[in-house]
Amino acid sequence: MKISKDTVNHVANLARLELIEEEKERFILDMEKIISYFDKLSNLDTSEIKPTEHVIPITNVFRDDKVCNSYDREMMLMNAPSKEKGCFKVPKIME
């Protein structure tokens, strides 16, 4: 299974990753090998099989509509790399 550079570029962009050229080359080779191996799944006939989304059969897991004290703002901002006026700061967003 050949993976094109365009595919890697597209996927990297979707994942907000930036790869340098050598990384890209390596990734393409790795991906081809790995995905080729994974393609053996297509040997299995699963047309009548339902996907398992959860291994334990639980449904209707809920909590009550109760308010508990939120966390202190200072604590929430403690790990923020950039903050201002009680908010998290990001580069200017052009709309």
Binding site: N13, L14, R16, E53, H54, I58, T59, N60, V61, F62, R63, D64, D65, K66, V67, C68, S70, Y71, R73, M76, L77, S82, E84, K85, G86, C87, F88, K89, V90, P91, K92, I93, M94, E95
Partner: protein, 480 residues
């Protein structure tokens, strides 16, 4: 070439639960930035969501109230995309198995009834708020709103005009308020609408290319945006161009829409079932419980008002358009036992005053009881219809009991014959020519003189009595 517009609406309503959808932070609007957050709604590593049961109940109620079928089995899916107001870089929504499907709302536009189909209603979490400083080099993120529960209501492309869109939104808003699942305050963002619009030649079956418009802050904005965009598309087509499928931002001030071309690549949301959340099963028992808990809906209430209170259909429509207003009306109608008068005052005075002051129907500044009292005063002849309007305004601005207003300002109807006689004599004295004309045979002048007499009495004269006196005095030949 005649074109018609084809519109589908996507409405987001914030559910009025006390706590957020996946954590127990408060949903209250207007808090200081980032004071209603916790590691869960801010997406810190290792945190997990747990679904608020009320959210499911409210969503199902919304579905039941709009004639949807409720899915017995539905699930929550991740919608993956990067944006600073989305802390986990995915929204938890519902993709292929939503809670509600295939419903409808019946609307009325210019006397014609129409059914607008609802494709689906599903639950999802809201994102945070971005604030852009004009001068500053950055943008700021506030996550208070992040995690507030939403329902997304998607209509079939059944809407054919801005008026229909408006009628649908007003009906939907009323329904959601009636069943008390959302306060639907567009100005606070608890009700938002996106418009998908395309045009096609009249009679054509196939759909044209559609554009999506976001950032519509009011019904009025929506109407303008629809009309503006339809016109734009028609012009493009008439000039031989093609419509590009894109998202456009509506600028209310300029009255124009702009292409949001920055979102160049189509979104690949990579939906997949959220492994942290379990499926939702709404069995018949639960569904029936919720169905039985629904209050009387706007449509039913309107019909009842026409039957029970004998008010005109138009009035009933307007009054039941807002739960607060309907409650107000009904209370006053029952107490006063004169629904028609109550309805008239609401339609004639209340709505006008609310609009002037930019107030909502849930902000009426006096109790329904007072309106009933005012109607009593009218019915018992204590005040005239004209005066009643004055008193109403005073009541609106001061919030005072109408009985007190009437007393304080001496607005009672004057029935004292002696006083009225003085008024009549004053009118006769002030209008000699008209009096001569009347006595000379011009009967029509009487109406004007009556008006003058009422005016002279400050609107307080008992019309029957003063009419009699005026007629009598005019009939007498004057020796002056």
């Amino acid at each position: 070439m005649e074109y018609e517009m084809v519109i589908g609406l996507e409405v987001h309503a914030e559910l009025s639960t006390k706590s957020k959808i996946y954590c127990s932070c408060a949903t209250r609007f207007g808090g200081d930035v980032n004071t209603q957050t916790c590691p869960i709604c801010v997406g810190m590593p290792g945190t997990l969501p747990v679904l608020n049961k009320k959210v499911v109940e409210y969503a199902v109620k919304a579905g039941l109230a709009t004639n949807c079928s409720i899915a017995e089995y539905s699930k929550q899916d991740r919608k993956n995309y990067f944006y600073p107001d989305q802390p986990k870089a995915y929204q938890i929504s519902q993709n292929d198995l939503p809670l509600c499907e295939s419903g409808y709302i019946d609307i009325e536009v210019e006397g014609r009834a129409k059914r607008i189909g609802i494709t689906r209603i599903h639950i999802e979490d809201d994102a945070g708020k971005l604030m852009h400083d004009e001068d500053d080099a950055g943008s700021l993120v506030d996550y208070n709103r992040c995690g507030v529960p939403l329902i997304e209501i998607v209509t079939e492309p059944d809407v054919r005009s801005a008026q229909e869109a408006r009628a649908f939104m007003e009906s939907l808003k009323a329904i959601l308020q009636y069943i008390d699942v959302s306060d639907c305050k567009m100005q606070e963002g608890s009700l938002r609408v996106d418009v998908n619009l395309s045009v096609r030649p009249k009679g054509e079956q196939r759909f044209g290319t559609r554009t999506e418009m976001k950032n519509l802050g009011s019904f009025r904005s929506m109407v303008r945006a629809i009309e503006g965009e339809a016109a734009r598309q028609i012009e493009v087509l008439n000039n031989g161009g093609t419509i590009i499928q894109e998202t456009r931002r509506w600028d209310e001030q300029q009255g124009l829409s702009y292409s949001m071309r920055s979102k160049g690549e189509a979104h690949d949301y990579r939906f997949f079932p959220d492994p942290d959340l379990m499926p939702i099963v709404v069995d018949k028992k639960w569904k029936d419980e919720l169905k039985n808990s629904l209050p009387e809906l706007p449509e039913a209430r309107k019909k009842r008002y026409i039957d029970q209170f004998a008010i005109p259909g138009y009035d009933a429509s307007i009054i039941t358009g807002s739960k607060a207003l309907a409650d107000f009306f009904e209370e006053a109608a029952v107490i006063s036992k004169n629904a028609k008068a109550v309805s008239n005052l609401i339609m004639g005075e209340l709505l006008r005053l609310l609009k002037e002051k930019g107030m909502e129907t849930d902000e009426i500044p006096f109790p329904a009881e007072y309106l009933a009292k005012l109607v009593f005063l009218m019915d018992r002849g204590v005040i005239s219809g004209t005066i009643a309007k004055k008193v109403f305004e005073k009541m609106f601005y001061t919030g005072k009991d109408p009985k007190i207003i009437v007393k304080e300002e001496g607005l009672e109807v004057i029935s004292d014959e002696k006083a009225l006689l003085e008024v009549v004599m004053e009118v006769i004295r002030k209008n000699p020519q008209l009096v001569r004309d009347y006595r000379g045979g011009k009967d029509k002048v009487f109406g004007f003189l009556m008006g003058q007499a009422m005016k002279e009495s400050g609107g307080k004269a008992n019309p029957q009595i003063i009419k009699g006196i005026l007629k009598e005095k005019l009939g007498e030949v004057d020796n002056s």
